[in-house]
Symmetry: C3
């Protein structure tokens, strides 16, 4: 690792970015590069035995492919055994509570449980009664902390390369997050993470999709895409949940595209080396133009690649943390 | 192991409790503790290589989470390779017979096939034509032998601890099984197992949910919950299949709860140290009060934990048995 | 291996039989026996470490059990890590393109991606933009190359045994393929494969299920089952897609059975030692009589067993091929 970190990791769970201190975030980011090297097989090593014989359970109560396989792969590259439980075919259909489901998983001696749930706060509540390490893989519209961490890692990677400074951080950067801010756990976790790391954040979307009092999170707010992009080092397009349209939360798709799509036209106001990011999966040519998604500014696939390394780092840190004080 | 057992295991399959001799049941129970120690990592060992390179196929043709993952984990902790086939997305949808499905699995050189099916007797029929070791993971309303074995193991554990006698068995114990006896494979397998081990069983439920001539299985029968609980060393609540109500098999949920729920009130007639058991998943506050399920008498999560060890023991015994005489 | 092969394998992908040269087909067939020995544990070896630490992703966008588990097992017996993605619960439901799905999988550093898709040509198109080794596990009505290879391997095995000649090939053999030729990727891949290996092929089915100008593929065509079977060394019955009947592509099931079913009656015109094959799953007593499927001429379960070995051979060859020229 390039940077020695003087903080020791003490947490047993990772459920929100709101909870984390800057030093903890940086410790995770500093731990990831060694795992990225494993994933890329830079030294011929394809797996590490750090979690050999441990059991990682992926409890995905909402459909998901990429986040689920990212966690599964992270666990496998740490040599853990993995079990994946998805909603279909699970006891959840029999009306069992999430507490009971987790109690049963733990009775089989799980070490880490990764949970995706449509209920905001579910992972946090579970930490109070259970002994497994819990990682929040997305809880309703609340948080998606591992996404924010992989995003921050990706930004830092590029800043360090651009400035040729291996110690550079996110201080002073400006990040524009565009889209349905109100319903986005990705936006919330990123706002917490980026501001703690010293970046400034501007959120931009239709008024109906901006949560009231969002300024209290310490961000700038606008419904003018060009204003948001001006001076942005990072342009982060959120995925539009097309089903929101049925709820009349925005007038029409055509209108949304006209006003908020990140494309080569709207990007003209952003600095030339601004990064374009997206949490995936992309609605091509809706919130993000296809040519931009595949273009030189886009770091979207690096986000995916870094995601596995960040999740390996988190599992490694949690598995080796002592009991919380 | 505390007890040397003079019986050698000879069976290739585990399909019913009705078939097993007392000595065989005891051999399984005596084999489990060493695997429980692995599961609990008592000596730092997390896996054993006993089934390394062997293939365990989980063929689950009915939805199930906990039984499926218990078998999956058991196989993984024995270092076997595992394949899981569930109904959705399987050739079963293309109308292939179970015989053909199993023949195809065997053509790929499976060693052990764990089958859950809604057809009573399906696993037994399959043993006649196939060469894999077959374990019945529940067949219709017929049997669920591994559940009965883990239940007997859990009871024996507690009896031995209570009496401080490492050789104690179930002889003379009284077990009350409460609920929908007629449709419960758990009840049937437990009746066979417990009576063979020398325990006496009383079954209790609404008359419409008691199978005719159940006395012939050697059990007492009553529809009076308090009568059933009187003198019971174990109170075993079955899961109510809520869909039975639509079939008018019992008058109303409120009525069921009033007459048959295991709760702190009804438990007053049972001995103070009676164990409370349930096969899961629990309908909280329907067949079992939530505070009792989570209370000091409940050994429900121990059942789950023991289930993995019992299944490891069974797989180990079957995999090493010679051809049946 | 019995036969030294002077061709080196250079391809990175296996997407069609149409593309392959005879020498390449023979190289795959010559590579399979060593893996068949592993699968059958002939020398006590149950797995080989050839793909240790590599990642094989099974991307099955159509329901399938047997092909999917055959690939999964092949990967596991090569010691690869495996990830399986099926349609249900995948981002495909969120409308992501196949290109994006694959780009994301690759960003997590996959080595081999096995794809089943309902779109003819999809695997081929993907090879143009992606870096993983791609194996076509069936694309619409187009091709199913690994099925054709395992079929050719099975035929060759029997020819070599029958003639007691370890160098015998398929030259001069006659293969009758019976059923819905028009919609069968199995038929298409087999026609390419068998004719390249020097066999002659006759296809037979109702006129409505014979593709126009099929003769151009170098096969004989007939709607007379007995004519097709006369002199056939192999009788290959295709699975009838029962849903075609609703599309009025054949008059009635009874009519189909009367005219095209492979059974002991119709087989009388075939040579006595003709092999009976089927890609599975069988509609028993529809396209193939149950007693024939289970009879001495049938090599259907050998096809299944050989399938794992062929897929191990293909993965091994692809994983070790250099960049394509």
């Amino acid at each position: 690792m390039a940077v020695a970190n003087t903080v020791a990791w003490r947490r047993r769970h990772l459920v929100t970015m709101e909870d984390l201190f800057r030093e903890e975030i940086e410790l995770i980011l500093d731990t990831a590069p060694q795992f990225l090297a494993v994933q890329k097989r830079e030294s011929g090593i394809k797996k590490v035995p750090l979690l050999q014989g441990r059991l990682v359970v992926n409890l995905f109560l909402e459909p998901s492919t990429r986040t689920r396989i990212s966690f599964e792969l992270a666990a496998k590259r740490l040599s853990a055994d993995t079990l994946t439980i998805t909603t279909s075919g699970s006891s959840a259909v029999k009306g069992e509570s999430l507490h009971d489901t987790l109690a049963n998983i733990e009775a089989m001696h799980s070490d880490i449980v990764v949970i995706r749930s449509r209920f905001a706060g579910a992972p946090a509540i579970l930490t109070h009664r259970h002994t497994s390490r819990i990682i929040n893989a997305g809880d309703g519209s609340h948080e998606h902390p591992t996404q924010a961490l992989l995003d921050a890692f990706t930004i830092r990677q590029h800043v360090r390369a651009q400035r040729d400074d291996p110690g550079a951080g996110l201080d002073g950067l400006r990040v524009a997050i565009i889209g349905d801010i109100a319903h986005s756990r990705v936006a919330r976790s990123n706002i917490w993470c980026l501001t703690k790391l010293g970046a400034s954040v501007v959120v931009c979307g239709p008024r109906t999709l901006l949560p009231p009092k969002i300024e209290r999170m310490g961000v700038d707010v606008t419904s003018d895409l060009r204003e948001a992009m001006k001076g942005a080092d990072v342009v982060y397009a959120l995925r539009i949940q097309l089903e929101r349209q049925a709820q009349s939360l925005f007038p029409s798709l055509r209108e949304y595209i006209r006003l908020f799509r990140v494309d080569s036209e709207s990007l003209k106001v952003a600095p030339e080396n601004a990064l374009v990011m997206h949490p995936g999966p992309i609605n091509r040519d809706i919130e993000l133009a296809a040519d931009v998604a595949d273009g030189p500014r886009s770091v979207i696939l690096e986000q995916v690649s870094n995601g596995v390394a960040i999740r390996m780092a988190i599992m490694h840190l949690l598995a080796n943390s002592g009991p919380e004080e």
